[in-house]
C-alpha cells in the first residue's frame, strides 16, 4: 500500500495555493522574467549608450572641416562642409537622424576618406571578434579549470598556488603579456608568427596560430576574474544548507556537485563574464598594436586621434551592440540556471 493513499485521510484539507494560480500563467510569467526583463534593462542601456556616444562626438566640437581642411579652412569652406554633412542642424535633430540611420545599420561616412563607416568596421570585425572570441574561450576554459581546481582543493597547497598565480596574472598589463609572448613564443622558440592576421577561410591552423597570442594577452584578466569568482562561488555554495539537505536526501557527491553546487556557484562567474566582455573588445587597442592586427581597437584609436567622429561613434555603437547582445544572452542564461538570483546587467 502506498503511503500517499494512507496519508490522504478523510476530512484532511489541503493547503491553499493562490486562487488565480494556473500553471500556464506561472510559465508565462517565468518566460517574461527571463526574457522581457533583461530586454527591459537593455533597451534603455542601448539608448543611453548611443546617446552618450553621439554626445561625445558632438561636444568635441570637431567637424569634417577640421579633419579635411585643417587650419586652412576658411569660414565659408567650413560652413559649406558642415552643411554638406548636415552639421548645421540642431543637436537633437542630428541625433535623431543619426539614430534613425543607425537602426538601418547606416553608421555614416568617415570624415577622412568618405568610406561608409559600417564598411570600414565590417572589414575589421572578424579580426577583433576572432581575438575576443578566442580570448573569451580561453577565459572560460582556463578560468573554469583553475577555479574548479582551487575550489575542490580549497585551503590546500594547490589552492594557494592557484590563488597566487591568479593574483599574479590579474595584475599583468596586456602590453606586458603581449611583449613577453612575442619574445618567447615567436622570436625565441619560433613557435608562432609574431604578428598579423589570416582569415579563418585560409585555414583554421594558420588563423589560430596568428590569433592565439593576442587572445592569450587579452584573456588573462578574464581568466583571473573567472577563476577567482568561481572558486569563491563554489566554496560559498558548498557551505549552503541545501548541500547538507541534498546529502541528507542521500544524493551522491557527484550529483550534488553537478546538479546543485555548480549551478548556484557558477552563476556569479557567468554574470562576471558578461561584465568582462567589454574589456575583451576594448582591451584590443593595446594588443592589436603589439600584434599588428588591424582590428577595432587600432581603428578606434586612429580614428579618434584623427578626429574622425563618425568612425569613433560607429565603433562604439557596434561594440555596445555586441556587449549588450552578449549580456542579454548571459542574463537569459543566468535566469535559467539560477533564477533565484535576480540580477541586472
Amino acid at each position: 500500500m502506498s503511503i500517499e493513499a494512507e496519508l490522504a485521510s478523510p476530512g484532511g484539507r489541503t493547503r491553499a495555493a493562490p486562487a488565480e494560480a494556473s500553471v500556464a500563467l506561472l510559465r508565462a510569467r517565468r518566460l517574461a522574467m527571463t526574457v522581457l526583463r533583461p530586454v527591459a534593462v537593455f533597451v534603455p542601456v542601448f539608448l543611453f549608450a548611443t546617446f552618450i556616444t553621439f554626445l561625445l562626438g558632438a561636444i568635441t566640437g570637431l567637424s569634417p572641416a577640421y579633419v579635411q581642411l585643417g587650419d586652412a579652412a576658411t569660414p565659408q569652406a567650413v560652413a559649406r562642409l558642415n552643411h554638406q554633412w548636415g552639421l548645421d542642424e540642431p543637436f537633437l535633430v542630428r541625433y535623431w537622424n543619426w539614430f534613425h540611420a543607425l537602426l538601418q545599420a547606416d553608421l555614416g561616412k568617415s570624415w577622412i576618406n568618405g568610406v561608409p563607416v559600417s564598411e570600414l568596421i565590417a572589414q575589421r570585425m572578424t579580426v577583433s571578434l576572432s581575438a575576443a572570441g578566442v580570448a573569451l574561450l580561453i577565459g572560460i576554459v582556463f578560468g573554469a579549470l583553475l577555479g574548479l581546481l582551487a575550489a575542490v582543493t580549497a585551503t590546500s597547497l594547490l589552492d594557494r598556488v592557484i590563488t597566487a598565480f591568479v593574483s599574479f596574472i590579474s595584475v599583468l598589463p596586456p602590453f606586458v603579456v603581449g611583449i613577453a609572448l612575442v619574445a618567447v613564443l615567436a622570436v625565441g622558440l619560433h613557435l608562432l608568427p609574431s604578428a598579423g592576421y589570416i582569415p579563418i577561410s585560409a585555414g583554421v591552423g594558420p588563423w589560430l596560430s596568428h590569433i592565439i597570442m593576442p587572445a592569450i594577452a587579452l584573456s588573462l584578466d578574464t581568466v583571473a576574474a573567472i577563476a577567482r569568482q568561481l572558486r569563491t562561488g563554489l566554496v560559498g555554495a558548498y557551505q549552503e544548507n541545501y548541500v547538507v539537505g541534498a546529502r541528507v536526501r542521500g544524493l551522491g557527491p557527484r550529483r550534488i556537485f553537478f546538479v546543485h553546487v555548480l549551478r548556484n556557484g557558477a552563476g556569479p562567474s557567468l554574470a562576471l563574464l558578461g561584465l568582462h566582455f567589454p574589456n575583451l573588445l576594448g582591451g584590443a587597442v593595446v594588443t592589436e598594436t603589439i600584434f599588428a592586427l588591424s582590428g577595432y581597437g587600432v581603428f578606434a584609436a586612429q580614428s579618434a586621434l584623427h578626429g574622425d567622429v563618425p568612425a569613433v561613434q560607429g565603433i562604439l555603437v557596434v561594440s555596445i551592440v555586441l556587449v549588450v547582445g552578449f549580456n542579454l544572452v548571459v542574463n537569459v542564461l543566468l535566469n535559467r540556471i539560477a533564477p533565484a538570483a535576480a540580477r541586472g546587467i
Binding site: V67, D71, N113, R124, V182, V187, S194, A195, Q302
Partner: protein, 484 residues
C-alpha cells in the same frame, strides 16, 4: 639580381610579396596623395610616362620615346602601342591629357607645385602622341613625369573611386584595399613589361608598428619592409634578414616658418640655424647610417652645392647672442607641432632648448593639413626627393612648394636661377653649374634648416631577390621570390 632572374626565367611568376608599410598612402589617387614615399606603393598599380634608371636618368616607361622642340618649349611623348589599364580600357593620349589636366586643376591636387606649372596646354595629335606646350623652356619634364607626377590613372574612374582603390596600367592590379589595414594586388598580365614581373601577388600591410616589424619579418609574417629605422638594423641583421641600404635623395629638415613671428625676424632665423647640432643628430639618431645635410639632397648629388657644405656651423653661443640681439635674451616659447614622436624631434627640441627656445612638442595626427596650409611656426619634414632636381628645389623653395613651410618665394635671384636651370638641357655642360646656382640661391633665404640625410633602409627575407638600385625607387621588375 639579374642573373637570378635569368636562371628562373623559365619558371612562371610566383610568390607573394608581404610588404610591411608604416603609413598607408593618404589616397590611392596619385593626384591627391602628396607623400613622396607612398608613390612607391601606388606604383604597384600605376605606371608612369617615364622611369629613371640607376643613374637617375629618364628612360622609357609608358612613353616609348620623347622629343623636345629646338627651343625647349614643347615636348612630345610617344606612347607604346596597345597600352591598357587594368580595367581593360585603353591607355591613349587622351587618357594622359585628362590625367595632367586633373593634376593641374583638381582642387585637392597635391601635384600643382610639382614641376607641371610650365605646362601651358596639351595636344593629342593622335592616339599615341602627347604634346606638352610649355610656357618657358623646361628640359626637366621627362624627369618630372618619371613617377610621382606621371602615374597615369584610368579616366573611367572618378576621383572618389580612385581615392579608395587604384586603377592604372602598372605591374599589378588591386584586388582589395582595406583602408588603414591592408591591400592585396595580383600581377597585371596587361602590363607592358609583364614578362619581367616575376611576383604573382603583393600584400601590403599598413600601420605596422616599427617595434614589431623585425619580429614579423623574422617569423615570416612579412618578407619585405621599406621602413626600417636605423636603430633596428642591428636587430634585423641579428635575425638573419637582408638589410639593404638603398640609394635615395632623402633629407630631413627643421621647418621654420619665416612668415610667422618671431621667425619673420631674419636674426631669429639665423639663431635657429646656428642652434642645430647636426653631428649629434647623425650620431645619436641615425646610428651611423646617416650623414649631415645642409641642403635638400645628399652630398654628391648633381644639385648639391659644395660651396654651401656648412653655412651655419653649430654654435650655440652665437645663437644665443643673435637671439639677444633680436630682442629675446631669455629666449621664447613656440609650439613645435610634428607628425610623430621621434627621437629626432625630441633631440631638436632639446637643442633648441639649449639656446633658450622653448619649443613645445605636440604630436598631431592631423599635422599634415596644418603643415601644408603653412600654418605651423615650427615643424619637421623629411623629403624623399624628386627625380628632377629642380622639382626638388621648387618643392622646398618655391612659393607653391609643398615643403616650403612658410610659403614665401625664394626671391627674384632664386627665380632667375631656376628659370635658367630649367632652360638648360640635361646634357649641356652648364647643367650642373646652373642647378647648383639655383640651390645656392634657394638656400639664401629659406627657413628650412636641413639636418641630416639617411639612405632608405630596407629589410627583406633572403627569399626575396635583390631590388634594382634605382635611387629613391622601389621597383619590382625582375625581382623574384623564392620558395613559393
Amino acid at each position: 639580381g639579374s642573373s637570378g632572374t635569368a636562371s628562373k626565367a623559365s619558371s612562371g611568376p610566383g610568390g607573394t610579396l608581404k610588404w610591411a608599410v608604416a603609413n598607408a598612402p593618404a589616397s590611392w589617387d596619385p593626384v591627391v596623395d602628396g607623400s613622396g614615399f607612398s608613390f612607391n606603393y601606388t606604383a604597384l598599380a600605376y605606371d608612369s610616362l617615364t622611369h629613371t634608371n640607376e643613374k637617375g636618368k629618364a628612360v622609357p616607361g609608358l612613353a616609348e620615346s620623347w622629343k623636345y622642340n629646338p627651343d625647349g618649349t614643347q615636348v612630345t611623348f610617344h606612347l607604346r602601342s596597345g597600352l591598357k589599364f587594368a580595367d581593360g580600357s585603353a591607355l591613349d593620349a587622351a587618357a594622359v591629357k585628362a590625367y595632367f589636366q586633373r593634376a593641374q586643376t583638381q582642387t585637392n591636387s597635391a601635384l600643382v607645385g610639382e614641376g607641371i606649372a610650365p605646362i601651358e596646354s596639351i595636344d593629342t595629335p593622335n592616339r599615341l602622341d602627347v604634346v606638352f606646350n610649355l610656357s618657358q623652356p623646361d628640359y626637366q619634364i621627362p624627369l618630372v613625369v618619371a613617377q610621382r607626377v606621371g602615374q597615369i590613372t584610368s579616366p573611367k574612374k572618378t576621383p572618389a573611386q580612385l581615392n579608395a582603390s587604384p586603377d592604372g596600367a602598372g605591374p599589378f592590379k588591386a584586388v582589395s584595399v582595406v583602408p588603414g589595414s591592408h591591400a592585396t594586388f595580383v600581377r597585371n598580365p596587361n602590363y607592358w613589361d609583364a614578362k619581367n614581373i616575376r611576383i604573382a601577388k603583393v600584400e601590403l600591410y599598413f600601420n605596422v608598428d616599427a617595434t614589431t616589424v623585425v619580429s614579423g619579418l623574422q617569423t615570416g609574417v612579412y618578407n619585405f619592409t621599406d621602413e626600417l629605422s636605423p636603430s633596428q638594423v642591428k636587430a634585423a641583421k641579428a635575425a638573419g634578414l637582408d638589410v639593404v641600404l638603398h640609394p635615395g635623395f632623402n633629407a630631413n629638415n627643421l621647418s621654420v616658418n619665416r612668415a610667422i613671428a618671431p621667425f619673420d625676424n631674419p636674426t631669429v632665423l639665423e639663431a635657429v640655424k646656428y642652434a642645430i647640432n647636426r653631428d649629434q643628430i647623425v650620431k645619436q639618431v641615425d646610428f651611423g647610417y646617416g650623414t649631415v645635410a645642409t641642403q635638400p639632397f645628399p652630398k654628391g648629388y648633381i644639385a648639391y652645392d659644395p660651396d654651401h657644405s656648412d653655412p651655419y656651423p653649430y654654435n650655440p653661443a652665437k645663437a644665443k647672442e643673435l637671439l639677444a640681439k633680436a630682442g629675446y635674451p631669455n629666449g621664447f616659447s613656440v609650439p613645435f607641432v610634428v607628425s610623430a614622436d621621434t627621437p629626432e624631434n625630441e633631440l631638436l627640441q632639446a637643442q633648441l632648448k639649449a639656446v633658450g627656445i622653448d619649443a613645445t612638442l605636440k604630436v598631431d595626427t592631423n599635422w599634415s593639413t596644418s603643415f601644408f596650409a603653412k600654418k605651423l611656426p615650427l615643424s619637421t619634414y623629411g623629403t624623399t626627393g624628386r627625380d628632377s632636381p629642380i622639382q626638388t628645389l621648387q618643392a622646398h623653395f618655391g612659393a607653391k612648394g609643398a615643403l616650403n613651410s612658410s610659403g614665401i618665394d625664394g626671391g627674384d635671384a632664386y627665380q632667375a636661377a631656376i628659370a635658367k636651370a630649367l632652360a638648360t638641357p640635361l646634357d649641356s655642360p652648364d647643367y650642373q653649374k646652373n642647378i647648383q646656382a639655383a640651390t645656392a640661391a634657394g638656400l639664401e633665404t629659406t627657413g628650412l634648416v636641413f639636418t641630416d640625410t639617411v639612405p632608405n633602409i630596407f629589410a627583406k627575407s633572403t627569399s626575396v631577390s635583390d631590388l634594382p638600385k634605382i635611387p629613391a625607387k622601389i621597383t619590382w621588375t625582375g625581382v623574384t621570390i623564392r620558395g613559393s
